[in-house]
């Protein structure tokens, strides 16, 4: 986990749960959690709203030391998320959807929802 910051598995699970609740409150339907494709990547939350498939990456940090949690979404992480998203779309036939990447970042336990946080990268 990112550089040994004070972190516990329990806190992580709690954060993912809270993020899901937040999305639900905003009118999204959570259709999957913790989708794990070994060697490809992992999707924290997958939501649906108005014909839009939203892949949510949950980032958790405590304290300011670690910088903004969004910074932890690196290009290599983005590539993994893209591949995992493609796999998810394929397995569940979501071909006819626009796909957006969101980030829910927790800073000292306060969640923030960043819509359309980044764009996918192909090739590279």
């Amino acid at each position: 986990m990112g550089g040994g910051y004070p972190y516990s598995a329990a806190e992580g699970i709690l954060a993912e749960y809270q993020a899901g609740e937040m999305m639900r409150e905003k009118g999204y339907t959570v259709i999957a959690r913790n989708v794990n494709y070994p060697k490809i990547g992992e999707l924290d939350l997958v939501c649906l709203k108005d014909g839009l498939l939203v892949i949510v990456e949950v980032k958790y940090r405590s304290g300011d030391m670690a910088g903004d949690p969004i910074e932890a979404v690196t290009p290599s992480k983005i590539k993994k998320l893209c591949r995992a998203a493609e796999k998810f779309i394929e397995e569940n036939s979501f071909y006819d959807y626009d796909v957006r990447f969101d980030v829910v970042s927790f800073r000292d336990g306060v969640p923030e929802h960043i819509e359309d946080a980044f764009y996918g990268v192909w090739g590279v």
Binding site: C82, E86, I89, Y97, D98, V99, F101, D116, G120, G123
Partner: protein, 513 residues
């Protein structure tokens, strides 16, 4: 959905059409640009995204692929931002695609959605017009340079939102008004004048001959004698540029991105004086992008090399070919581009390293040895000196001359004579492809530089006495032709020839012996 927008790119001074295809599909949100984009073109993705959002459009998450066709030409610059953004908006059905095909679009986007000025608009418009494109949308900042071109309809919106409203028929934008070149050409914009140069009668005469016939000039003189001041006066006595010449020069300056945004046109002859540390590439042009160099920026104007022996010898030698041919072909692995480089070379140098050799002042005696002087003069090679038509020694002026002499002829007076001499040349060469005497080839020299018996004899004597090269002789003949033209004489007289020989043969190397 697929949208296709017409745009234009530059290869040297010639434009070629680029089709920008923007495909927006459902799927994992991404934005890819293909078709051999350079880094600046790839970065368009970030500018386009911000500009679209800040223009209150939706940058909806789509799997977007942008193709720049033809895909085998390397695309440079930021002029595709605007057409890519329009393509995206059309692809996502935020604007109507109906009128898109009518226009060629160019422009860089600022993050706030406004259109920024780009370089190279003038040559693009000219080559697009030749291919039959008539309607353009370009940034507001480029409107001035577009306004001189007849026969096209140019719209210059301020920002992306305005452009889209115009394309959708929601807002009218008036096309850019056509401007006449003659309205801007005749204004005097110089802050030097020959009348402020005291004394120096001989040098002024050399200047006049050089400018009248487009000949190359080397001024040699002690430090502070006024060489640089004289050189700076050259543009003031040069004839006004014709519209064609102005277009040629503007094209180059537009590509180089040094065009005045207000003026939009180069209306005064360029005077380029690169510092003597100038590198070979900066002078001739080159680099991986094959950009143009100082010789091309000086096209139709003056290339002034102050303190000529201080330049890198190799750099100087590269000037030999453009001086002769008037074009530079910059060849790199990726591409080969021909830039026009018809300039008048004006150079200045000191007679020796300490700068005092030959000074009339008793207190300023030269301290250099013979060998030092020889070495200094030798820094300019023979072949290069051979290409210079006029050598003139610029002596320091006496105090009386400096303070009391009546103001000499003004630049305007000299210019009138130059214009007259040029008019004669224009008429003479109306059937040929050249403008001035300096550009005559051997066939034309044969035809227009006929000598009488006395002149022939003088030339023969000079040939033997100074061991002239064949090229030197042709250059002398050309200068003699110009001297005759200044006085409006049909035939070259002995005096004309004598003056030409005199200016040609007093070169710095000769003086020292």
């Amino acid at each position: 959905m697929l949208a296709s927008i017409k745009s234009y790119a530059l290869d040297g001074l010639n434009g070629y059409p680029v089709d920008i295809e923007v495909d927006t599909q459902k799927g994992v949100a991404s934005f890819e640009i293909v078709g051999l984009p350079s880094t600046a073109v790839k970065e368009a993705r970030n500018r386009v995204r911000a500009a679209i959002r800040n223009s209150y459009f939706d940058f909806t998450p789509k799997r977007t692929t942008v193709n720049l066709a033809p895909a085998d030409m390397k695309k440079e610059g930021s002029a595709f931002d605007f057409p890519i953004a329009v393509g995206f908006l059309a692809g996502t059905e935020q604007i109507s695609a109906e009128r898109l095909n009518e226009f060629v679009m160019l422009g860089e986007l600022s993050l706030d959605g406004s259109l920024r000025r780009i370089s190279g608009v003038m040559p693009i418009l000219i080559s697009a017009l030749q291919k039959g494109y008539k309607k353009f949308i370009i940034p507001e900042g480029n409107a001035a340079e577009a306004s001189y071109i007849r026969g096209i309809e140019v719209y210059a919106p301020r920002n992306l939102a305005d452009a889209c409203a115009f394309l959708g028929g929601l807002k009218e934008i008036a096309p850019v008004k056509h401007r006449l070149y003659s309205s801007v050409a005749a204004v005097n914009k110089y802050d030097v004048d020959l009348k402020y140069v005291k004394g120096q009668t001989l040098a002024k005469r050399a200047l006049e001959i050089a400018v009248s016939g487009g000949h190359n000039l080397l001024m040699c003189g002690t430090a502070g004698a006024g060489k640089t001041l004289l050189a700076k006066c050259i543009p003031t006595i040069m004839p006004d540029m014709t519209f064609e010449e102005a277009i040629e020069t503007t094209k180059i300056h537009s590509v180089a991105g040094i065009l005045d945004p207000e003026e939009g046109m180069v209306t005064v002859r360029p005077f380029r004086s690169p510092h003597h540390t100038a590198s070979l590439m900066s002078l001739i042009g080159g680099g991986s992008k094959s950009v143009c160099g100082e010789v091309s920026l000086a096209h139709n104007g003056v290339l002034f090399l102050d303190e000529m022996p201080e330049y890198n010898k190799k750099t100087l030698e590269t000037l030999r070919q453009p001086i002769e041919d008037g074009v530079v072909t910059v060849t790199r692995v990726a591409r080969s581009i021909e830039y026009p480089a018809r300039f008048m070379l004006v150079a200045s140098m000191n007679p020796c390293p300490c700068g005092n050799y030959g000074s009339r002042d008793k207190n300023k005696q030269c301290t250099c040895t013979y060998a030092e002087r020889k070495r200094y003069a030798g820094k300019i090679s023979g072949p290069l000196l051979d290409r210079i038509d006029l050598y003139v020694t610029v002596d320091g002026v006496e105090y009386d001359e400096l303070r009391s002499a009546p103001a000499g002829e003004s630049s305007a007076d000299v210019k009138a004579r130059v214009e007259r001499a040029r008019a004669i040349q224009r008429e003479r060469f109306s059937e040929e492809k050249i403008h001035v005497n300096a550009e005559m080839n051997n066939r034309l020299i044969e035809k227009y530089c006929k000598l009488d018996v006395a002149s022939e004899k003088l030339l023969e004597q000079a040939f033997r006495r100074y061991s002239l090269s064949a090229r030197s002789v042709t250059r002398i003949l050309k200068v003699a032709r110009t001297v005759a033209d200044i006085d409006g004489r049909e035939n070259i007289t002995v005096n004309d020839l004598a003056e030409a020989i005199r200016f040609k043969t007093r070169e710095p190397g000769n003086e020292i012996d």
